[in-house]
């Protein structure tokens, strides 16, 4: 484990930015935080987390796939992808780090999504342990330890110091760039911090939320649960929950005719939308109840069924904070599942 004084943090950033494009959370004028590209003068945010999740780095909201021109009977296809450069996402929380694993299981299995894979390969994740979780946090429900975040490099921030620990080769390499600014350290301060944080974790309002009653094999049992009607009753069908969610991975592929050719691009889609997966015969899920149910069944039943029991929620709490009507996965889990 290495450490550096927080006073030197901007030097550290400058050093990293020499080798990589560096992104880190900065405060916005509306008191929210957002991952932005580091440049001289950027100030690392103290916020617990960003409104938009860091999934954007690997799975951006919109990305061009190819371009084609039709002339007469000829179709001219151009691969317009741009090679990624190595980049660092600094200060990713444990929950969000976990979300990458969930996305990987979608995009990196055969057939591998080469766009996603390329970004993943070039991205270096510097994770940050939590010290002051919010009331909306429930990562423990999904077995995530926010004091022990994964990633290429894990960091712990104390009052005065930043502790670093490389977990992967990519991480080692990154740390080597800031070698001169860091020094060896023991884990005492970090251990103390972990201890303190876990006390708070146990007191969180959602600390007792469990996945009992969900998971693989529960489809038939849960699908016709009467509570879906009530839960989905006032859902507006907007896509806020899906778009702030670090694990939602649905997208649509669309063509845009520029007048001088067609750009085929993909963009996020939301299962909450009435037009979602609309096909020639119409829509699969005709009511908001069905769409609402799909979202939670996917996260809590279908995904674990296909992915060795792994749930596709990381308890980051973004949807709890942002849903216009304050309906969310925690309420769904409590209503349909149970508490410890």
């Amino acid at each position: 484990m290495r450490k550096c004084s927080l006073e030197k943090i901007n030097l550290v950033f400058a050093e990293i930015a020499k080798a990589y494009t560096l992104y880190l959370p900065t405060d916005q004028n509306d008191s929210s935080a957002k991952f932005t590209k580091w440049e001289e003068g950027s100030v690392w945010s103290n916020a617990l987390n960003t409104v938009r999740s860091p999934k954007d780095f690997f799975f951006p909201q919109a990305e061009d796939l190819m371009e084609f021109k039709v002339e007469g009977k000829n179709i001219d296809i151009t691969d317009i992808r741009q090679e990624s450069e190595d980049f660092v996402i600094f200060g990713v929380r444990a929950c969000d780090v976990k979300s990458f694993e969930i996305l990987d299981r979608v995009f990196l299995v055969d057939p591998v999504d080469s766009f996603y894979a390329s970004r993943r390969e070039h991205g270096i994740i510097v994770s940050l342990a939590c010290t002051k979780p919010s009331e909306t946090c429930f990562c423990t429900t999904f077995g995530i330890d926010c004091t022990e975040p994964a990633g290429d490099v894990s960091i712990w921030k104390t009052e005065t110091e930043l502790y670093w620990q490389a977990n992967t080769e990519k991480g080692e390499k990154l740390l080597s760039y800031v070698d001169s600014l860091t020094e060896d350290a023991n884990t005492k301060a970090v251990d103390e911090q972990k201890e303190k944080t876990s006390v708070v974790m146990k007191k969180l309002p959602l600390a007792n939320l469990t996945t009992d009653g969900f998971g693989a094999g529960k489809t038939m049992e849960l699908f016709n649960n009467e509570a879906w009607d009530e839960l989905s009753q006032t859902c507006l069908g907007c896509g806020t929950c899906t778009f702030v969610c670090p694990t939602c991975q649905c997208y649509d592929i669309k063509d845009f005719d520029t007048g001088n050719g067609v750009i085929r691009y993909r963009c996020w889609d939301s299962c909450m939308y009435s037009e979602f997966t609309k096909m020639a015969h119409g829509n699969n899920r005709l009511t908001q109840k069905e769409r609402f149910r799909q979202r939670f069944m996917h996260k809590l039943v279908y995904y674990p069924e296909n992915n060795d029991g792994l749930y596709s929620c990381v308890g980051c709490g973004r949807c709890l904070a942002k849903c216009p009507i304050s309906m969310n996965i925690a309420k769904v889990m409590k209503k349909i599942g149970g508490e410890k």
């Binding site: 002339e71 007469g72 005719d257 007048g259 001088n260 009435s274 829509n283 005709l286 009511t287």
Partner: protein, 664 residues
């Protein structure tokens, strides 16, 4: 996918001089959907059209783009050509490469480049064209004329003479209107009654005309060719079919002191009355507000004296529904109220009267049996002052008068002045005016005669104040030409009060969805080219309801309106414009935005049952466009937020395709 043929016209050197037509034809060949492209010297010539027809046959074309002159020039021509070739005429688009290209640009490369772009836009549009067919609707061969004045009478007679049944709805107990109240008419000075009453009799006797007197239009539904109208026949407590108009009841009625409307309230009539001797229908009417039998159940004298047994105190308002193909509005005018013109002392002195009251004072059938006597004391007036433009041309006084010129006052004042001087040469007559407006056949001659032969004093200037003092009216006025103040002690003052549309016109316009101007005159479909039609199809305008008019003008407009009605009723079916709006019911919110902007009232709402996504059914309110009424302006398409409303022939996707093609 369309199979489009492109035809580039040279128009001799008109186009070819500035546009490389061959290059245009060549460039458009590779546009999507284009399978054939050629150029020719004169596309509109028979040979050119034959070339198009042949190309359609040879290449199985489904759409045509003609790059030529303005569509305003030859769109109709090429639509016919398309029809000849077996295509729907609306599968044609014109790229205007003459008026909007070759004629306004000088250099060949620039003109050619623009012509190609305009051609591409037309191709892009045709790709989205769909065959359009005009809608058909039947025509009810009956007309309704609202108002029984000279305008309504003339229109009804003309329509009826052409063989179509006509109903006249008149709110008063008799037809005849304002003209029946007049004494003589300018500029010929023939007696109004002498020329009007025969026409009234013609109406009464015409087998194709029905008169609904003492009646009002209660409701109008439907559209051109197919109006459903409900007429309210007010209870007159006299059975029209039995009453012979003998007048016995009128003589016997004890309630004699009711202001006589026909004589402008200058004398009285009984509670049961016939407005005037030549009334049509000549049937008595009981004034329910004045009759003690109806109010208190006491009297019943009229019933006793009526030999025909026509009196029916139990009569109720009756509602009659009828279908009409066309409606003519002839609601006429009224004199404005003088209540707000305190300066003229109208309400203070009986001897300040309006011109219409003057008409009755000089009419042989009027309250004074035609002798010009002062209303106050019955004496002969020796000094009369006429004031013109009372409430007319009144700038910035909307609450009092009218901004417009009432048009008829100059002439009738000249008439009054002249007749007074003619009959009573001892009377001094002064007319105060702003301008004397006498455009019209023999009008100026008439006015000059009043001045030159009859010695009427015309003073340019306005009357500032009239103060009744004892027996005289002190008139203060200014003489603008001699720049001096004038004081006249007049015996009688006649105000040429402005005229305004009848008050019934505004609610009627709402029922008809016919538009009105801010003065409540009906708006014509086009001020120059369609002056007797309302913008609402099937509604026509006759007489002063459209604007101030004298009798000859009214009669000509009445005839014109009649000829338009006859033209409409002659048709068995109406063919609509196929480029009209249509609502996609699945997307329509029923919010009424489109209805509110439709200038024609073409949009109505239906409650329709829809199958919802969750397999339930739901009743939803959706817009429905009446193809016979819609004129295709497209105002509704933009008012519609969901895009449910679209315009055929100028659809959203077509216009956007044109935009895209131009901006490529």
């Amino acid at each position: 996918m369309q199979r489009i043929g492109v035809f580039v016209c040279w128009c001799g050197s008109n186009i070819a001089g500035t546009v490389d037509v061959k290059a245009v034809a060549e460039a458009l060949k590779s546009e999507p959907g284009v399978v054939y492209s050629t150029d020719y010297q004169y596309m509109c010539s028979q040979a050119g059209q034959d070339l198009i027809v042949q190309a359609v046959k040879d290449n199985n074309l489904t759409g045509l783009v003609i790059c030529s002159c303005s569509p305003r020039m030859h769109e109709a021509t090429f639509r016919k050509t398309a029809a000849t070739a077996g295509l729907n005429p609306y599968m044609v688009e014109i790229a205007n490469i003459r008026e909007q290209c070759s004629w306004v640009h000088k250099e060949m490369p620039i003109g050619t480049e623009k012509a190609i772009i305009l051609g591409k836009a037309a191709v892009a549009k045709v790709n989205l064209n769909t065959p359009l067919t005009p809608g058909e609707s039947p025509v009810t061969k009956r007309a309704l004329v609202i108002g029984g004045g000279i305008a309504g009478i003339q229109t009804a007679l003309d329509i009826a003479d052409a063989g179509f049944p006509v109903d006249i709805v008149e709110t008063k107990p008799t037809i005849g209107g304002k003209m029946a109240q007049l004494d003589k008419t300018f500029p010929t000075l023939d007696c109004a009654a002498c020329i009007l009453t025969p026409k009234m009799v013609d109406v009464a006797q015409h087998e194709k005309i029905r008169i609904f007197s003492y009646s009002e239009v209660a409701e109008v539904k439907g559209f051109v060719g197919n109006f459903d109208v409900t007429i309210k026949k007010k209870a007159r407590f006299v059975d029209e079919t039995k009453c012979t108009g003998c007048g016995d009841c009128v003589d016997k009625c004890p309630m004699k002191k009711n202001p006589n409307e026909f004589n402008m309230g200058m004398d009285n009539r009984p509670a049961i009355y016939i407005p005037f001797a030549q009334a049509v229908p000549k049937v008595a009417t009981i004034d329910a507000g004045a009759c003690t039998m109806l109010k208190k159940g006491k009297c019943g004298l009229c019933s006793k004296v009526c030999g025909a047994g026509a009196i029916d105190y139990t009569q109720k308002d009756e509602f009659i529904s009828e279908k009409y193909g066309a409606i003519v509005v002839a609601t006429g005018f009224n004199v404005i109220s003088m209540d707000k013109f305190d300066e003229y002392a109208y309400n203070q002195s009986k001897d300040v009267i309006t011109s219409l009251e003057f008409e009755r004072l000089t009419n042989a059938a009027g309250p004074t049996a035609g002798k010009l006597l002062r209303p106050s004391d019955g004496k002969h007036p020796h000094k009369i002052v006429f004031v013109q433009c009372v409430g007319s041309r009144c700038e910035n006084c909307a609450e009092k008068g009218k901004e417009y010129c009432s048009k008829i006052c100059c002439m009738y004042t000249a008439k009054h002045a002249m007749l007074t001087r003619d009959k009573y040469p001892d009377t001094d007559v002064t007319v105060f005016y702003i301008d004397v407006r006498t455009p019209g056949k023999n009008f100026d001659e008439f006015y000059r005669r009043a001045v030159e032969e009859f010695g009427v004093k015309y003073v340019k200037g306005m009357v500032g104040k009239i103060v009744p003092e004892g027996e005289v009216l002190k008139v203060q006025a200014s003489d603008l030409i001699n720049n001096k103040q004038m004081h006249i002690d007049a015996d009688l003052v006649v105000l040429a009060a402005a005229i305004e549309p009848d008050k019934s016109a505004r609610p009627l316009a709402t029922m008809l969805t016919a538009s009105m101007d801010t003065n409540d005159f009906f708006t014509e479909a086009h001020p120059k080219l369609r002056p007797v039609e309302s913008p609402t199809a099937g509604v026509f305008l006759s007489g002063a309801c459209q604007g101030p008019k004298d009798i000859p003008e009214t009669v000509s407009q009445a005839g014109a309106a009649a000829s338009k009605v006859i033209g409409l009723l002659c048709k068995d079916k109406l063919l609509g414009n196929p480029c009209i709006a249509g609502s996609n019911e699945l997307m329509c919110n029923g919010c009424s935005s489109c209805e509110r902007v439709c200038p024609y009232g073409a949009i109505t709402y239906l409650d329709k049952e829809f199958r919802m996504p969750d397999r339930t059914t739901k009743i939803r309110r959706v817009a429905s466009v009446n193809p016979a009424v819609c004129q295709g302006c497209g105002a509704c398409t933009v008012a519609c937020p969901s895009g449910a409303m679209d315009l055929r022939g100028f659809a959203n996707d077509q216009i956007m395709a044109e935009v895209d093609a131009i901006c490529k």
